[in-house]
């Protein structure tokens, strides 16, 4: 048992090297294209669903004012409506001069790793919120928000690190939320279900893409 545990711990030294997707890979770690989390859930209005993309995690309150979305980074929500894990619809978000612009939901020009912005799709925008002043916008049956929020992710990452390091044999009870008191930059979109497949189950994911 002890040996098994030891092997497991060594083999997975990278396990939860933070959390949901925070700093998950060297190429994006800590940068403006680093996605920390993705959520998709039914809205307060049960005819709608909500997509949330969080970026640039672990912002201390004092560092939050200086954190900004990168105008070279496109945030793209992907929706596969026919179960082949290829996107049939995208919702794009791109910041320009203090506003977050949104395009879609619409079929992409091409699927996969490269995107162009779908300027002929439904266009919406919202002023990027400051830390103290949230702004939301409605357009075409959708709702939009972009700006800093409390990081909704919660986990005792510190204790897990101790487990990995061999300094603890298990979690504490109660645990301690390593992400308490930290902020992220959030993009939140609420859309009618009728715009993203209508019924049944869809497959969703979020991407960050940098302008070449």
């Amino acid at each position: 048992m002890k040996i098994y545990l030891g092997i497991g711990i060594i083999a997975i030294a990278g396990f939860l090297l933070v959390a949901a997707d925070h700093i998950d890979a060297p190429a994006v770690s800590g940068g403006t294209s680093d996605i920390t989390d993705f959520y998709a859930f039914q809205a307060e209005d049960t005819d709608n669903v909500v997509f949330v993309a969080n970026l640039q995690g672990l912002l201390a309150p004092g560092a939050t004012e200086n954190a900004a979305f990168d105008e070279n980074v496109l945030i793209e929500f992907n929706i596969d409506t026919d179960q082949d894990n290829v996107e049939d619809l995208v919702i794009q978000a791109i910041p320009r001069d203090g506003k977050m612009y949104f395009f879609g939901p619409a079929a992409p020009n091409s699927t996969g790793l490269n995107s162009i912005i779908l300027t002929s799709a439904t266009q919406s925008s919202v002023d990027i919120s400051t830390r103290m002043t949230p702004v939301t916008e409605d357009n075409a049956g959708m709702k939009f928000f972009a700006g800093p929020r409390d990081d909704p992710f919660f986990m005792d990452f510190a204790q897990y690190s101790d487990i990995i390091a061999g300094n603890a044999s298990g979690f504490d009870n109660p645990g301690s939320d390593t992400f308490a008191g930290s902020n992220v930059l959030s993009v939140v979109v609420e859309v009618p279900k009728s715009m993203v497949g209508g019924s049944g189950t869809v497959n969703t994911w979020v991407e960050s893409k940098r302008k070449q």
Binding site: I7, A11, I12, F15, A19, A20, D21, D24, A25, A27, V28, S33, I35, F38, Y39, A40, F41, Q42, V49, V52, D80, N85, V86, I94, R96, N114, I116, I117, Q123, S125, P134, N139, R149, D150, P152, F153, F154, M155, D156, Y160, I163, G170, F171, D177, A180, N183, S186, V188, G198, S199, T201, N203, T204, W205, E207, S208, K209, R210, K211, Q212
Partner: protein
Amino acid sequence: MKILNIKNTLTLIAIAALCFNCSNDDDFTPNTGGDGNNEPDFSGVYIQQDQMGRPAVNTVFVSSDSKNMFNTTIPSEQNADFQNMFQTNLEALSPAFANPGDMNALGQDAAAFTTLLATDVLNLSLDGTTTFYDGTNVLTGRALADDVITVELLLIFGGEDFSENPTLSNDNVDANDKPFLTSFPYLAAPW
């Protein structure tokens, strides 16, 4: 000349006022182009850097030297490229999975569990409850309050009935540090 200057100045002020109003217009009106409005530049090609479906998948199941590659592999190709790696890493992390017939609480052996996870998309039901796991519904979405890390720890370490390795299968942080909002934008205000 002087009159012309005043006229020009007034015109400039009028234009400035108009522009000021435009920039504060809550109801953004898309520019149809060609009339000199300062429509932002949306041109160019954007190339993928990061992606995410389910929480913690890249972090947990992808080996260090493959994490960038996983982020730039389209979901429809992830199973072919990464399922073997996922299974190897799962069996290293939770050795019981290497025993024939060993399963998680979803009734999945190591191959089935990693086949599900290797394609890193978040399933979303458009027909009702959306949750990562709430005791009844499984993988119908991800709500803000879902304790996804404990669910994943349970599926990795908890065995067939969530009873194995109790000190590893729950981090005992069950909720966010701030309550979520019931209305848009749902996430709590920043600190």
